[in-house]
């Protein structure tokens, strides 16, 4: 429809030939006679999005992915990562890495906020690109179909934290652990370095209260609200897959230890990544 097709024509005309078409075709998806999967994903639309994302990934953020061999070539998997930087580019970079780097590309399905389906264009473009509304039912269904999903257990607490709290993980939700246990899904922990500096923000509490928003971030460069990320260099660290053990209906206290183990793993990968890093921008 309209915008999606327009975007596709604009982008496809300008782009030089590349490997994205082959990678899009190599994705394993369940599609019907019109080429759509049950969640509204369509490979042609992804191809367009992949060109934009590929440019951001390779040229703008010059991302490096370490440990890409830990991304399984097939089968269900849950990527658990730290969430930061006011804008959800960390999700885009992880998705691009898993699509562009491994020999067998994977489509990462991330959980978008519940308000997104009420926003014009975003409502359907994100679903054409394989992203889904973040409900536990959707997660469960996709994992049972052996798909790869991306979860940020810090949620909005993580992405909206101010610059002063950079690389300190916010508390993790427990939902992902219950889902992983229920569907017997391996967890690949991911540490994202760089996103925390893409929009160094302070939170203006009085304005947040005035607008009834959870936070009101302000950045020290025009347009002063976080819209455009700085061209930081992204470094991703994929850890070895972890398997949780136990019952999905266990009490929170029992699950908390396992969630803490995942969180500690990500925190220590972040520390290692920060030590190895020479500069924020290159």
């Amino acid at each position: 429809m309209g915008v999606a097709d327009w975007l596709r024509r604009r982008v496809d005309r300008r782009a030089p030939p590349d490997d994205l078409g082959a990678r899009t075709r190599a994705l394993v998806t369940r599609r019907n006679e019109y080429g759509f999967d049950p969640f509204g994903f369509h490979p042609d639309h992804l191809h367009t999005a992949a060109r934009l994302a590929g440019w951001l990934y390779r040229s703008y953020f010059r991302a490096e992915a370490h440990g890409i061999e830990h991304v399984p070539a097939s089968g269900r998997v849950m990527f658990i990562a730290n969430h930061s930087g006011q804008l959800p580019f960390d999700g885009l970079v992880i998705g691009s890495a898993v699509f562009l780097e491994p020999p067998q590309p994977r489509l990462v399905r991330s959980m978008v906020e519940h308000f997104v389906p009420t926003v014009p264009f975003a409502s359907y473009l994100l679903s054409r690109w394989g992203q889904i509304t973040g409900t536990p039912e959707n997660c469960r269904r996709l994992l049972r179909q052996d798909e790869a999903i991306l979860v940020f257990p810090e949620g909005a607490r993580g992405i909206s934290k101010p610059f002063s709290k950079r690389y300190q993980l916010a508390p993790f939700g427990l939902g992902f652990a219950r889902l992983a246990l229920e569907t017997d899904t391996p967890i690949v922990p991911v540490a994202v370095i760089g996103a925390e500096e893409q929009a160094p923000a302070v939170n203006l509490r009085p304005l947040a209260r005035l607008f009834g928003a959870p936070s009101f971030p302000v950045v020290p460069y025009p347009p002063f609200v976080p819209l455009v990320p700085l061209p930081v260099k992204y470094r991703l660290y994929f850890g070895e897959p972890m398997r949780l053990t136990g019952d999905p209906d266990d009490d929170d206290e029992l699950l908390e230890d396992q969630v803490k183990a995942v969180r500690n793993r990500i925190q220590s990968m972040i520390h290692l990544g920060l030590q190895a890093r020479k500069h924020v921008f290159w």
């Binding site: 969640f39 308000f115 389906p117 509304t133 959707n138």
Partner: protein, 319 residues
């Protein structure tokens, strides 16, 4: 009004709303089967019906409707006579739909009907931005929260659900099909017959559709002994609304959603549109269901492909 049929001992099936277009499709399907003696119950006449189909032009709430059951030889009841006229008064609709259904259930229990099949709709779940992509039969029926017009249908569904417990010796089945397409004059088929079709700028939800004859065959399956429970009925797959519209070769008018509500309300008031404003959410948000239970327990699989189902809205049905 039955004729001298060679096998008069065929089990009697009462079908409400048989004169409607979907009713005729169902009647034709069940008639072809030759397993049942069909009895229609509708306020409207049924012109051109086959000789061995009995028809009573009565109000569901009337005494005459009870008389149809009184003999005690009704084996099954298919209730699909739900009225959707958006122009009728709310009181009249409520009385027809809800009181009518509760009367029917009362007769069914009093006269020992072994099987009750009610055609509800997947719309009872309601289109909502935070819906999971596929709702199961256990999902709450949220449609009435935003749609006063849907309250009747939700209430009928609940009425029948409680009937499961009240009449345990009756096998009760609720079918909740997704948007039914075909020659029927229901809201989704009528909407797709518009040209140009109004859509919301920036919204293109995934939708599920089912062919009217697939619904008929599911109703037929629900009559088999041993089947009871609530079943979502899904068609051959999921597609964006825009794909359906372009498959039908229709033009569209894209309306920005903040303008759509007032414009739609005005058009409804002027009689230009027969869609209540609240139904806009059906072309904005996802309301899709998981049909795996019907596949597993009812053995139901749609026979028509997605393309055939979509193109069916332009077909003329006869009979």
């Amino acid at each position: 009004m039955s004729s001298g049929d060679p096998q008069p001992e065929r089990p009697k099936v009462v079908v409400t709303g048989m004169s409607g277009r979907l009713g005729r499709v169902v009647a034709r399907h069940l008639h072809r089967d030759q397993r049942f003696q069909l009895v229609g119950l509708d306020r409207r006449p049924f012109s051109g019906r086959p000789k061995d189909v009995e028809h009573h032009e009565v109000d569901l709430r009337s005494k005459k409707a009870r008389d149809v059951f009184r003999a005690g030889d009704v084996a099954a009841l298919i209730h699909m006579g739900v009225m959707h006229d958006p122009r009728a008064s709310a009181a009249e609709l409520y009385s027809w739909n809800v009181s009518g259904t509760s009367k029917l259930l009362e007769y069914a229990q009093a006269y020992g009907v072994k099987k009750v099949v009610v055609l509800s709709s997947a719309n009872v779940y309601g289109p909502r931005p935070d819906n999971p992509q596929f709702l199961t039969e256990e999902a709450p029926l949220m449609a009435a929260q935003r749609f006063p017009q849907m309250r009747d249908l939700v209430e009928i569904d609940h009425l029948v659900s409680t009937f499961f417990w009240k009449a345990r010796e009756t096998e009760t089945v609720i079918l909740r099909p997704v948007h039914i397409l075909g020659g029927v004059h229901n809201a989704p088929s009528n909407y797709l017959r518009l040209d140009p079709i109004p859509v919301l700028l920036g919204f293109d939800p995934m939708v599920q559709v089912i062919h009217e004859r697939d619904v008929a065959s599911a109703l037929g399956r629900a009559l088999s002994p041993g089947i009871r429970g609530i079943f979502n009925l899904v068609g051959p797959g999921e597609v964006p609304l825009s794909v359906i519209i372009s498959e039908l070769g229709r033009r569209t008018i894209r309306i920005p959603h903040p303008l759509a509500r007032p414009l739609w309300a005005l058009a409804f008031r002027l009689g230009l549109s027969s869609y209540p404003v609240a139904e806009l959410d059906f072309i904005r948000y996802v309301c899709m269901v998981d049909g795996s239970r019907a596949e597993r327990e009812l053995g139901f699989r749609p026979r028509f492909s997605l393309r055939e189902t979509i193109l069916a809205v332009d077909e003329r049905s006869d009979w």
